[in-house]
Symmetry: C2
């Protein structure tokens, strides 16, 4: 193997992976890793759990599974990689194949030659360009120092009220952490929903859960300015004029790829704002690779370029870039399907592929199905899982799958994600042979049941409608006939109260006379999770009713206030 010098800029996720892989692939190479922060290889996705106190020691965020801190000594000894921390790279001279850097402690200039360069410069948090942004007490949660700052709130009774600007993944995880340590938290989101990777009704279920966990949520309202007192933040002023007092504000409105170095060096930048790379993670310069949050990725479903600033993807890309820099372009990264999951108090929420909203934006002719069901048999201590499948009617490909709830979202979403990675069609989901035993799942796995509903809809066996369709219909002057087919006891315990009639499924065949005798009248059926609702619709259709719909997900997936 020819000896060469490989320089990696960035030491958080993609960088250390790239450096270690490069050295393993070519032990004759000299591999240098340059990091601006004082730490290397930080478990940044775990910062909310560090703030919360669940990660007991700060060093755990920086350590190998056996407890060794991943510092330059570790990288040198165990990985054969020379690591520099507190070192900022200022310029890449592509002609001379040289890097100019600076030690942040003493400002001493440094120079590195490279044969191959790997840019892993990550992303930086977006900050809103509004008045008051420079007040004290306004922070993103991005660097470890931000996490340190927020973790210190555990011991700081002066900060009681926290405003979180942005209800995305990091905003919501941070909200849980700060609520857990006793702060009063208000989440402010400009969009009509939190967690935009979910469709509205699922996000609403999460929002309800966040609210019932004691957090205030304000939607469809941006922040117009930060208010201050003695140089520190004292509140946020919303677009509608409302002022929310706070002692601290966390800004979590997303990240942007950090491409300054790449841009200055004249590398091609994609329309998404990330560094352009090919499948080998090579940039427009054949001697420079890039990996992680700073790069543009391919969405494997749409084929379009996109950003995807996730730690797992950074690791996979770093591995590919490291290998190719070390031994030539042997490895390829196929792109992403946007799989993600997060914990939200006692719920989990996640998604893979496209949401219905995105799929429609992309122009797909979309069919969806919602399934609400326990994650295992009731007698095994089941909890509910809600899922939604998004199918392209033309190709029958599963474009996306989202899953939320207190139950085992982790299993159901992960297996759906594996299938979506493989380009699965609806028909592949329908008869999957998945591992079953009562402690782990239902006999008909949740994702299979979701696919069965979609299949029934696609074949015209079921006309499924959403909760929001049903609510809107119920408010019309001439509302449809609304039919709840649960038992009287269930109805007594919990009901929507939007004008529905109760006829238990078991009695339906005998009580058809009570239904609208106009066989073309619109009827919407449901039950607890709409299995019985579907059964009822089949019965009514067999008796001549022509416009029978099923409200998918039933009472359990109803995101609005209920009468009871």
């Amino acid at each position: 193997m020819p000896s060469k010098r490989i320089v990696v800029i960035g030491g958080s996720a993609a960088g250390p992976k790239a450096a270690a892989r490069a050295k393993r692939m070519n032990q004759d190479a000299e591999v240098v890793l340059i990091q601006r922060a004082p730490e290397l290889s930080m478990a940044s996705c775990a910062y909310p759990y560090y703030i919360k106190g669940e990660v007991k020691e700060r060093n755990l965020l920086l350590s190998t599974p056996t407890g060794v801190v991943r510092d330059p000594g570790y990288f040198g000894g165990s990985k054969g990689v020379t690591a520099y921390v507190k070192t900022e790279v200022e310029a890449v001279d592509r002609k001379a194949k040289k890097i100019k850097a600076r030690n942040l402690d003493d400002n001493a200039p440094l120079e590195f030659d490279y044969d191959k360069l790997i840019l892993c410069t990550g992303a930086r948090p977006r900050m809103p360009p509004i008045p008051g942004s420079d007040l004290k007490g306004i922070t993103p949660l991005h660097a470890l120092k931000d996490a340190d700052y927020l973790a210190a709130l555990r011991e700081n009774p002066d900060v009681q009220r926290v405003a979180i600007i942005g209800g995305g993944l990091i905003g919501i995880e941070t909200c849980e952490a700060l609520k857990h340590i006793g702060k009063h938290v208000t989440v402010v989101e400009m969009l009509p929903q939190i967690l935009v990777f979910l469709d509205w009704e699922f996000a609403k279920l999460l929002e309800n859960h966040v609210r019932s966990s004691g957090v205030d949520v304000i939607l469809e309202n941006g922040v117009s300015s930060f208010l201050g007192k003695d140089g520190a933040v004292s509140g946020v002023k919303l677009n509608n004029g409302t002022e929310i007092p706070c002692d601290l504000a966390v800004v979590s409105i997303g990240v942007a790829p950090n491409v300054d170095l790449a841009k200055d060096a004249g590398l091609a930048i994609g329309a998404s704002g990330g560094i352009e790379v090919n499948a080998h993670m090579r940039t427009s310069d054949p001697d420079i690779y890039a990996a992680g949050d700073c790069t543009e990725k391919v969405n494997r479903i749409t084929g379009k370029k996109c950003l995807a600033p996730y730690g797992d993807i950074a690791n996979l890309e770093g591995r590919v870039a490291g290998e190719n820099a070390a031994i030539g372009d042997t490895a390829e990264f196929p792109g992403v399907v946007h799989s993600g999951i997060c914990k939200v108090f006692d719920f989990a929420a996640g998604s893979t592929g496209l949401s219905e909203r995105l799929a429609r934006q992309e122009g797909y002719d979309v069919l969806t199905a919602v399934n609400a069901s326990p994650d295992k048999p009731g007698f095994m201590g089941a909890k509910m899982v809600f899922s939604k499948i998004v199918v392209d009617k033309d190709t029958r490909r599963v474009l996306g799958f989202q899953c939320v709830g207190p139950g085992n979202v982790n299993r159901e979403l992960s297996e759906a994600a594996a299938a979506v990675n493989m380009g699965a069609k609806l028909d592949d989901f329908v008869n999957m042979d998945l591992p079953y035993a009562p402690p782990f799942s239902l006999a008909l796995d949740h994702i299979i049941a979701t696919a069965h509903i979609a299949q029934n809809k696609l074949r015209g066996l079921m006309d499924g409608v959403s909760a929001s369709y049903t609510l809107e219909a119920s408010r019309k002057d001439a509302p449809p006939y609304l039919l709840d087919v649960r038992s009287p006891q269930e109805y007594e315990e919990m009901r929507l109260g939007i004008g529905e009639t109760l006829i238990p499924l078991g009695k339906l065949r005998d009580r058809l006379g009570e239904l609208p005798q106009d066989k073309d009248a619109e009827i919407i059926c449901w039950c607890k999770i709409s299995m019985r609702g579907y059964e009822a619709a089949r019965v009514l259709e067999a008796h001549g009713w022509t416009n029978v719909k099923v409200m998918e997900g039933g009472v359990m997936a109803w995101p609005y206030p209920r009468e009871k």
Copy 2:
């Protein structure tokens, strides 16, 4: 839809599903469900949890999620299906399209005409043809009455010692249940391992866990006879002459398809012993379908016919058979990949696809890789997961994946199973975009890391060997150089003690002089989980050693006794 009469024989899993689906697809059809047992639609996979007392009430095994017992009244009212219980079908007259049955309470004969018939006659437990089999206190765990009998042991202090004949899935689940209620349990298995869906070393990890949970395990020893006293079992005599005293014996040596009716009616029976069906679940008679444990299935990996008596498969097949009987052959069942999972005390164990042993039997040129790693970051309360991937070297297809351990086997195995269902190749596993957040997984998901090891092996970057290879090699007259590269502290706490030398990875580059100077000498490296072991091997190879191996899974996956 033409009116017709559909008769379903068998009311456990496939039968009720087939009947309900048939009625939903064709409300004009008359659907009759005939069941020999007094109960319908029993959650039979949960019997061990009923015996254990985890399922609090017997009726829960027979109820819908909302607590309605699935009796004939329920099937009539909610499903529109006429169900008969305690009714045994004695003959099928295919010419006359008639069924002869008998009520088991009063012996009254019954007759049913059918247009389409669906056989869901299930399986029956195998019993060993040995002396003493008719003694009292010998039972399978198959019917609900068997579960009732074993559940009653909770209140029966006279039964203290239980022998379980057969260490398969049901034997081991029953062993956990009976141990849990305070019995002394001995598992007797004829083969050299329990849980034959696993390869030997993984089964050994489970066996160690079963033993450490207080259960005796006897391997490679069949039962030659049951011993009795006053007509009741008092012990089992093993093939090697040993006598094991017991107050009760559970026989769990597998099941055989129950095909008597089909055979008598002249339907084709496959070489596997199951009823022959095509992809539409239709038998050799165009008016007769079959589904569930009584049928022969297609193994989607080998393409060969097989049996697969699992509750989830029965449900899927029942759905297909019900639809086709109702509206003609529209639905297809693609076959199985043998996904299964079970709880074993504090471990879970499961498999999808082929084990290494089966893959080699089938003639594949096999490459495997073992991965031992935590299921999430250590600071989030991680537990270990052990997995093994089986890859066909010719096509790179993933033939199988097995997974065991105290960690989240459920997620890892389920996503691997989804991929194996989709015919995934090793390369598909390598760059999967799976949902990651610290509460749910590692940044590099466990199945991806397993695939990376396999990829490294396939490319010759790593020569991985098993624990059993290493143990054998260590016992040779001229053993290889055995190299543990963990830290001194780890070595002090736990070590194999098979003649290994400790050189921590971080010191290895400086201490190469201590290694055999014959560069062709065999060296076997390992660490806790063999990530560092692999790193060490790469270092040694770069320094000229030509025969360096890595013991996969490291100290954690070592199934033999350790020095420490």
